[in-house]
């Protein structure tokens, strides 16, 4: 299983300044767990202490919002995930 994850600009320094990473899993949650296995520093930027996705993190699967299933949303080989953060500057 190979799924490409596009990482928000503000988090790229946590994955060796890459824009994307390859992960495996059958759900969004498994893919993010694999990402955290590869890059442990990213964990606290995505999840709270209870392991829930932070409310300002949005995950898109093939450019479609994963909300409301979020971590439970199934993914397939070749899917593209995007991790985005809410922004509000003007």
């Amino acid at each position: 299983m190979s799924i490409t994850v596009n990482i928000h600009q503000a988090l790229r320094h946590l994955i060796n300044n890459q824009a994307t990473a390859e992960v495996s899993g059958t759900t969004v949650g498994e893919c993010l767990a694999d990402l955290v296995r590869q890059f442990p520093c990213i964990e606290t930027k995505l999840f709270n202490k209870k392991g829930k996705l932070l409310h300002y993190v949005d995950i898109y699967v093939n450019l479609e919002s994963s909300y409301p299933e979020e971590l439970a949303k199934p993914v397939m080989d070749g899917d593209k995930l995007s991790i985005t953060l809410m922004i509000a500057g003007g």
Binding site: H8, A10, A19, H55, S82, I87, G89
Partner: protein, 247 residues
């Protein structure tokens, strides 16, 4: 009716089949409310002014600070300490005296927003914080006013167009708040996003093209990539789920 001066001033855009004299007249009859006249509001206001929008209301409570000048291009070095709406109005009137520009030096609140919006056809969201953006989103929905969202952070920007009763709203996409913070930014990022907002406004008024509705446009300036995320109306949205959907 357009005047001889207006026909000359807008000649190059009236040449566009999509605009023509009829489109230019629609722009002249339109009134646009711009919330915030900083990094996003400056380019949005400049291009809406030169395009010939009839009436523009600028609302911002802030004063010009030296640290604004890397991006808020309507404010210049000798404006430091002055009211942003006054500084902006002065330049916009010189850019295009045909446009009626109103400056309102106020903080947007739940209490004053409905009154501030009275008589305006469209809202440009050029704020720098989520709580006010949510107030604007809610007021746009309640008053059935199209809402043009833009936001930036560093080398990244977002834009989305919201048509009440029809499309996903800002609250369908963003569900919480983020702490207000000093955000990093370089002027070229809000320049792009503010111009995208102005483009959406012009298209909406004239009635041409495809709008950024049910789409969150993400601009990654570092990789020079534009991505459109598809978003849907959230059936549980705090702001729009109670509203009847049409069209």
């Amino acid at each position: 009716m357009l005047t001889v001066d207006e026909l000359e001033r807008y000649d190059r855009q009236i040449m566009l089949r999509e605009i023509g004299e009829a489109g230019q007249e629609k722009l002249k009859r339109a009134s646009v409310f711009i919330a915030g006249i900083g990094g996003l509001g400056s380019p949005a206001a400049i291009y809406l002014t030169v395009a010939g929008i009839g009436r523009i209301r600028l609302v911002d409570h802030d004063r010009v600070d030296r640290s604004n000048l890397n991006r808020q291009v309507l404010h210049w070095d000798n404006d430091i300490g002055r009211s942003k709406v006054k500084s902006a109005t002065e330049k916009l009137k010189r850019l295009n005296p045909e446009v009626e520009i109103e400056a309102i030096e106020q903080t947007i609140t739940e209490a004053n927003l409905a009154e501030l919006l009275t008589g305006f056809d469209l809202i440009v969201d050029a704020m720098d914080n989520l709580p006010t953006r949510y107030l604007l989103n809610k007021a746009a929905l309640d008053n059935n006013i199209p809402f043009f969202h833009g936001a930036i952070y560093g080398f990244e920007g977002r834009a989305m167009t919201i048509i009440p009763h029809k499309t996903a709203c800002l609250r369908c996409v963003y569900r919480g708040v983020i702490p207000e913070e000093k955000f990093p930014v370089i002027g070229v990022t809000p320049a792009v996003i503010g111009c995208i907002q102005a483009t959406e406004v012009i298209k909406y008024i004239v009635g041409i093209g495809e709008l950024l509705t049910n789409k969150l446009l993400n601009y990654d300036a570092l990789n020079m990539e534009f991505t459109e995320f598809n978003v849907k109306k959230d059936p549980h949205c705090e702001h729009c789920s109670h509203m009847k959907t049409t069209g």
